[in-house]
């Protein structure tokens, strides 16, 4: 079973020190202080692909659009069991929307004989939750989004569970080749072993620029997009919480007193 996994390097937004500031262009954010990690859902995608490979054989190919620094998340996916990788990078890719991004991914994937392409269900930075479904349509294959369980039925068929509101699982069958967008919590992502990390440094990361994709500059970036991010703005915030000031001893005393006054303690 040949599986392609799309991984994106994203800023670590769970780190309290990751501050998001709009840059001077108004269309970007200041990335200078970010620490980068693999997108959370993509980490589960990598694990699911490796689990399937361990059970059914085949190859796992990691694909990422991103700068050289993204090699770090790619290497980690290779260390866990990915076989080879493709990284796409070109200045012309900047300001690509979901559609253009999916075209770039498709250019790398179309020549691979895949059974399944996995993406994360959502990237934590832009949160479109749309790239996998878009890619499926470009590849001309069916897809299932928010996948929380995968079972191989036969050579051509998977049984998948899509997670809906309230945690309800929608079970269905889907024919391969197909695209699955993987939801967090589907498995327990492993840590890379030292041996894996050593071996990963020898595995191939093929670099593709615009010319290598076979796409023209009109097909990527803002020109190749259907939607355009005009600019970022700070959200209008409603009434903010009353912040209790002081050190931990003071704030905890204030909070305990409030809870007591409200009859909750």
């Amino acid at each position: 079973m040949n599986i392609v996994v799309c991984v994106k390097q994203v800023p670590d937004t769970s780190d309290p020190d990751t501050e998001v500031h709009i840059d001077s262009t108004g269309r970007g954010v200041d990335q200078s202080k970010f620490s980068f990690v693999i997108n959370e859902a993509d980490n589960y995608g990598v694990e699911e692909a490796i689990l399937l490979k361990e059970k059914h054989g085949g190859e796992v190919v990691i694909v990422s659009i991103g700068p050289e620094a993204a090699n770090q998340v790619i290497r980690m996916a290779l260390a866990k069991g990915g076989d080879r990788a493709i990284r796409l990078e070109d200045e012309a890719f900047a300001f690509s929307d979901v559609y253009a991004t999916a075209k770039i991914l498709q250019s790398a994937i179309k020549d691979i004989e895949f059974d399944v392409v996995m993406t994360g269900c959502m990237a934590s930075d832009d949160g479109y939750a749309a790239t996998g479904q878009t890619l499926a349509q470009l590849l001309g294959v069916p897809h299932a989004a928010y996948v929380k369980s995968v079972e191989v039925i036969d050579e051509k068929t998977l049984k998948v569970g899509r997670e809906l509101e309230g945690g309800l699982l929608e079970m269905s069958e889907i024919k391969m080749p197909c695209v699955l967008t993987i939801q967090t919590g589907i498995n327990e992502p492993r840590y890379a072993s030292f041996k894996g990390i050593r071996e990963a440094s020898k595995k191939e990361i093929k670099i593709m620029d615009l010319a290598a994709t076979g796409l023209s500059s009109d097909e990527v970036g803002e020109n190749g997009s259907l939607s355009v991010l005009k600019g970022y703005s700070m959200p209008e915030v409603g009434e903010l919480a009353e912040i209790l000031e002081g050190d931990a001893s003071e704030t905890s005393t204030k909070l305990a007193t409030i809870l007591k006054e409200k009859g909750l303690v």
């Binding site: 049984k159 915030v237 919480a241 305990a256």
Partner: protein
């Protein structure tokens, strides 16, 4: 713009509220509004939708009894090609979000997802959506096209009674071939646990900020001295620190306790959806910009590893 299509969503025999929210939004944009319904045995839904739309276009066929992307996409692309609405609104739900991108690409329509506010400038939509877990907003515009497709976030706009009496048009199924690439099997309900957090009077909700499983006992102690139950964000459930039935949010439970004490939770919209109806919300988070503070009555901006132990002691003292 000639008209706006709104896709009605139903599941397990119920018309979902998001359908009425989107019809409310559409009715404020100006053009004529058509509710589009695919289902099986859904006359009743069509009647209900008629009071929120100028027209209801519906297909009644067993192939639409449950959502299947390939079938829905095939039918909708035929309808949209034929009727050429200027704008199509679909709820950005587990169903809609699955469907929007591939449908849009098939039709060549500009699209975007998870929109929280939408306006029309002439015939073109301008959409606002969140980035970076709700820390900033972005404004999205579109290339010129005949039809635009927009996924609108659930509960972004409250549904209002519109008192319309739209014309109901039941039409032939535009799809005559059988869909074989995908097949619906069944729904599996989320497992129930020993404690029903939707009934809890007080909840201590744990987020990824606690960092490791070994810090859970501290949170258990806080819950215990308060007489509260433990709940958590999806991140904590995914990590296996709490069982799935303790998850609060869009893919977990909706809770309305007297006290919701959120510790190390950022306040992503998917989480907040499940707790914003709580009576009193208190958040402890190191990051002053964490969106959770927008939903809290009281906040402490500090390291939870300092505040929680102190708070446990203070509550013990108060209780004597």
């Amino acid at each position: 713009m000639n008209e706006i299509f709104v896709l009605a969503e139903h599941r397990q025999g119920e018309l979902r509220e998001v359908s009425l929210e989107l019809l409310t939004l559409a009715s404020k944009l100006g053009p004529k509004v058509t509710a589009v319904l695919l289902g099986s045995g859904v006359d009743e839904f069509a009647n209900k939708l008629a009071s929120y739309a100028d027209r209801v276009l519906y297909v009644d066929d067993s192939m639409y009894a449950n959502y299947v992307c390939s079938a829905y996409q095939a039918a909708l692309s035929e309808l949209i090609k034929k009727e050429k609405p200027g704008l199509v609104l679909i709820g950005n739900t587990g169903q809609g979000s699955d469907l929007i991108p591939s449908l849009a690409v098939e039709l060549g329509c500009p699209f975007t997802t998870d929109v929280i506010s939408l306006t029309l400038e002439g015939d073109k939509p301008v959409a606002v959506r969140q980035f970076y877990g709700g820390k900033i907003n972005g404004t999205i515009e579109f290339k010129d096209a005949e039809t635009y497709l927009i996924g609108v976030r659930e509960a972004a706009v409250p549904a209002e009674e519109l008192g319309k009496s739209g014309e109901i048009q039941k039409i032939e199924n535009p799809i005559t071939t059988e869909i074989t690439v995908q097949k619906f099997l069944e729904y599996v309900e989320a497992a129930v646990g020993e404690v029903d957090i939707t009934q809890s009077a007080m909840l201590v909700a744990v987020g990824r900020g606690i960092r490791e499983d070994k810090n859970m006992p501290m949170m258990e102690e806080l819950a215990q001295v308060l007489g509260a139950d433990l709940a958590g964000s999806r991140a904590v459930v995914d990590a296996g620190w709490l069982p799935p039935d303790r998850q609060v949010g869009i893919s977990g439970k909706t809770v309305k306790p007297k006290l919701y004490l959120a510790v190390g939770i950022s306040g992503a919209f998917q989480h907040v959806t499940g707790m914003k109806g709580s009576e009193l919300v208190v958040a402890i988070n190191k990051d002053p910009d964490a969106p959770i503070f927008q939903y809290a009555d009281y906040g402490i901006v500090d390291d939870l590893f300092k505040v929680v132990p102190a708070l446990i002691e203070k509550i013990k003292e108060l209780k004597g």
